[in-house]
């Protein structure tokens, strides 16, 4: 309900200010041919925004989990690896990491890397440190008795994690993982700087040809708003469902 009110409110604000004459809504007017072409152009960025975010979040969850496990070890060296990774990665701004992966990494490693994978890798790496912290907290919240019971029925480490600890930990961190997905959708706008054809890049390109930043960027804001409100709703739904399961 709040979402509807919000959208209605924003629409009114836009309509009213559109009357002042400073706005040039024709660039995205769906009743004209040119407007439709421009709108389609803007919306076509949705594909890469969603694809980049989803692929990046999947990779970052996998890396996060791998990085979280040594944090639970009794071995100080292994714990040190976890701390080192988390602290270093968290300290680098996402935009800087994107630039470095796209322009720096190919030169250093002597490989070619396309825009899509450069963007995905940078976003995934950056997010993985946060995922690792989420998983560490989730795994540590599982009672010690669960490990002891697993020990007493002869489960090895892998089976203990796979069948006993992780299923409980993941259930507890699902809402936090959902929030990371929302965060990722927003951060994916940054890969526009290396030319990924996602929402923000499309908007930038249209602004250059139409000279109408106000209107185009307003549509861009709405695109992100709708996308993220839908995803947030999904996360909330999942959260409620998990809660009633218990």
């Amino acid at each position: 309900m709040t979402m509807q009110k919000l959208l209605i409110g924003i629409s009114f604000a836009i309509l009213l200010s559109g009357c002042s004459g400073n706005w040039g809504w024709y660039v995205v007017n769906p009743t004209t041919e040119g407007g439709i072409i421009n709108l389609k152009f803007l919306l076509s960025g949705l594909y890469y925004t969603i694809l980049t975010s989803v692929v990046a979040i999947v990779i970052s969850i996998v890396i996060g989990l791998i990085i979280a496990l040594p944090a639970l070890s009794k071995n100080r060296f292994l714990r040190g690896i976890n701390r080192f990774y988390v602290e270093i990665v968290r300290a680098v701004p996402i935009l800087v990491l994107i630039l470095w992966v796209y322009y720096g990494l190919p030169q250093m490693a002597g490989i070619t890397i396309d825009v899509f994978w450069a963007g995905v890798i940078a976003l995934a790496l950056s997010d993985s440190a946060f995922e690792a912290e989420i998983f560490r907290a989730g795994i540590q919240s599982v009672d010690r008795g669960q490990y002891e019971a697993s020990h007493s029925i002869s489960l090895n480490y892998t089976d203990t994690m796979r069948f006993v600890i992780l299923p409980q930990a993941i259930r507890r961190v699902l809402p936090a993982l959902g929030n990371q997905l929302v965060y990722m959708l927003k951060m994916s706008s940054l890969v526009s700087v290396i030319g990924m054809q996602e929402l923000t890049r499309k908007a930038n390109e249209l602004v250059v040809t139409e000279y109408r930043p106000l209107e185009v960027y307003t549509v861009l804001v709405l695109e992100y708003l709708v996308l993220i409100l839908i995803v947030s709703g999904g996360v909330r739904w999942l959260e409620n469902r998990m809660a009633t399961d218990k």
Partner: protein, 245 residues
């Protein structure tokens, strides 16, 4: 009778606190040992050392002829022979009763699912709750949960079962049903070491009573002598406390 557990002068410290001081204990196959003593006396630590949950720092432990050390191989051999029932049940909350029981047999004993299901059903009937097979632990009473935990332990078909205060977390009306199952188990010839203050159970079932205090075994005797005429002053004082309340 064959000696199945041999504990020789084991010691264990947690930081500055010495939980076990050169404790020795022998248990024969089929023997029922009940350990009691004030809290912090090292009872739980002793049995946790026997199945490798805690590592002892000196002395030696042999289970069914196998020397227990911290190598993965020795640990896994010993684990497969020793079952354990915990005060807090420690059932897996995200799995059904049936899944709780079959996880060990399927993953550790490499049984097929149908074999494991049959085995689990057999032991659920033995603890008298076959109708709860498809419920989740949270849907059961404490007494039922503890019986599931006993069945889970039995599904590994261990030679010895250790009980760590199995009735301490239960409401009074549920203690009886758990003790009944334990008594049946004892009568079936299972080797058991129970840390418990249930004196009725101890009198009925125990072959040997052990009293621990401050990380040492103070008194070890057959139940009649233990309850009526213990040698040590400390044991007598402890018994006066738990019997006259």
């Amino acid at each position: 009778m064959d000696r199945i557990i041999h504990v020789e002068k084991i010691s264990k410290s947690f930081g500055d606190f010495q939980a076990l001081k050169e404790v020795s204990l022998d248990v024969s196959a089929g023997e029922r040992v009940v350990i009691c003593g004030p809290s912090g006396s090292g009872k739980s630590t002793l049995i946790r050392c026997i199945n490798g949950l805690e590592a002892h720092q000196s002395g030696k432990i042999e289970v069914d002829g196998l020397l227990l050390n911290q190598s993965t191989e020795s640990l896994s051999m010993v684990k497969s022979k020793v079952g354990m029932v915990f005060q807090q049940f420690n059932l897996f909350p995200h799995l059904t009763v049936m899944e709780n029981l079959t996880l060990g047999p399927i993953r550790a004993r490499k049984m097929s699912k149908s074999e494991a299901d049959d085995l689990a059903m057999k032991y659920l009937e033995r603890v008298r709750i076959p109708e709860q097979a498809n419920k989740y632990p949270i849907q059961l009473s404490g007494g039922q949960q503890q019986r599931v935990a006993i069945a889970r332990s039995l599904c590994m078909e261990p030679k010895i079962i250790l009980f760590d205060e199995p009735t301490s977390a239960l409401d009074p009306e549920m203690i009886k049903e758990v003790l009944e199952v334990m008594t049946e188990l004892a009568n079936s010839g299972m080797t058991m070491i129970c840390v418990t203050h249930e004196t009725g159970f101890a009198r009925n079932v125990a072959d040997k009573m052990v009293f621990m205090d401050c990380g040492e075994i103070i008194e070890s005797a057959e139940p009649h002598k233990f309850f009526t005429n213990p040698d040590s002053q400390r044991c007598q004082e402890f018994l006066d406390k738990i019997l006259h309340h």
